[in-house]
């Protein structure tokens, strides 16, 4: 194995790597808000530019940043086609059965696809530049106010962190199961979308079983290593944001406000 799987942490010394995890997650949430509120082409252009800067400053490379997009290209195509064909049936270009592609559908498809791509890229930068357990502690810090309502924030953060860490592993496992099934005669090369979807179904059960087995073994190993839910773990202290971190928060906030004003 000579390449890290998609979304797996890559140690580095870039300014984005050095940012505190809680600040990075906070900025990620603001940016997600900005992406969801973007409506105009200029809004998207600013966000694309900002994402480019983010990739540049994080020094992770365009290929790594876009790796999750490449993996989910079929998902993106499906949501684009569904929006194109089913979104605006009032003024369709042409109507064939239930399919009614329209200009509104086309625009909606582009909107959704660009939003998903932007969120994937920003999320990937967060994951690749933040070590998993630091990410957990960052989430814990941000979720701290929920403790007032007796919500188990540590457990939620740990579950999210472990789940995110296992996503690349599950992708690899899916790939392995797929290859094993190809070796036994399964076909995934059909050009028909329905056939492709049908071929994916037999992958689902083994992937779920593998995920449950992994979860079971990991929980045992965590318990054996002293993890307990009824007591707080030792934790590193994040401290006050640095000058660069303030700059990042302000820039992300301005981006979000700009998107709101453009609405």
């Amino acid at each position: 194995m000579n390449q890290l799987p998609t979304g797996m942490y890559q140690p580095g010394t870039s300014v984005v790597h050095q940012m505190k995890a809680n600040i990075k997650i906070f900025c990620f949430l603001i940016l997600t808000g900005a992406v969801l509120m973007a409506e105009t082409i200029w809004g998207y252009a600013v966000l694309v530019l900002f994402s480019g800067c983010l990739i540049y400053f994080s020094k992770i490379g365009l290929q790594t940043a876009l790796s999750s997009v490449r993996r989910l290209i079929w998902f993106l195509i499906i949501i684009f086609v569904m929006n194109l064909c089913f979104y605006g049936p009032e003024n369709p270009w042409i109507k064939i059965g239930i399919f009614a592609p329209s200009y509104e559908g086309l625009m909606q498809g582009v909107h959704i696809a660009v939003r998903v791509i932007l969120m994937m890229v920003i999320g990937n930068v967060l994951m690749v530049t933040t070590a998993p357990l630091v990410l957990t502690e960052g989430m814990e810090t941000l979720l701290l106010p929920l403790k007032l309502f007796r919500i188990p924030t540590e457990q939620i953060a740990m579950i999210l962190s472990v789940a995110m860490q296992f996503i690349p592993t599950l992708f690899e496992e899916a790939d392995m199961i797929k290859k094993a099934q190809i070796a036994r005669g399964a076909r995934f090369d059909s050009k028909k979308l329905l056939d492709k979807a049908g071929a994916v179904m037999p992958l689902v059960v083994p992937i779920f079983l593998a995920a449950f087995k992994r979860a079971d073994e990991l929980s045992l190993a965590m318990e054996a290593r002293g993890y307990r839910t009824d007591m707080a773990r030792g934790q590193r202290k994040f401290g006050m944001p640095t000058g660069f971190e303030w700059l990042a928060i302000i820039t992300c906030s301005i981006l979000c406000i700009l998107q709101i004003l453009c609405l």
Partner: protein
Amino acid sequence: MQAVIAQHLTYSYLEKSKNRAIDNISFQVREGEFWAILGHNGCGKTTLARHLNALISPQKGELVVAGLDALANANIWKIRKACGMVFQNPDNQFVSSVIDEDLSFGLRNFGVSEEEIPNRVKVALEAVGMAGYEKRSTHFLSGGQKQRIAIAGVLAVEPDILIFDEVTSMLDPEGRRDVLNTMQRLRERGKTIIMISHYIEEAILADRMMLLHDGKILGIGTPGEILPDIELLNRTGLTPPMAVRAYYDLKAAGITLKECPLTNEELVEGLCQLR
């Protein structure tokens, strides 16, 4: 002093079932000893190991680990600190893909101070021969290296007893050698080691070995006492080591060595003495 004292230990996964995973097991492990527990799949090895790490509480009988009564709920976390456990699949033990992060997981759970953690991580990595790997990703390691990192993760907490639950079963020969050498080094440092395995050749490293079959102990003794007993091994469903089989084959052919060899080296030595 005894590291483990088990008296009439019994456990069933279905409480009222007559099918017992371990059945009336009694044994004592002295501090600093290296034990090998062997048996075929489903004989109760892992259930026993999980008792020793307090992942399972005894249903019947008594169990004292590192001087702590395993029946007392208050001792569960103390036992887990005193008795570390390494599992079969290293990939399913890592909480973080970054090595120093993963090693610090157990330390934070047991409340080790932030200042002390880097030093503990360094010492644990040195102990398994992986010094300098702190910032590396587990993804690029071989199976044997991954398992050594998993051992370091347990070792960082500084347990007195280490349980290895079939840790070599998913490794290639080189990985197995790596991990077995690590176990030997830990034993030389005075750790009590309990190795669960179904590779009979690995038991040769142990001071004492236990054979389990259907949840019951079929034999306890030194490798020199147990391994030449082909009948006992057959009853346990284990194949004797190659050197032992060769010894009996030679005996059947009229060639008797002075004593039964356990390793190939001992077999060669025994044959040389015949010249």
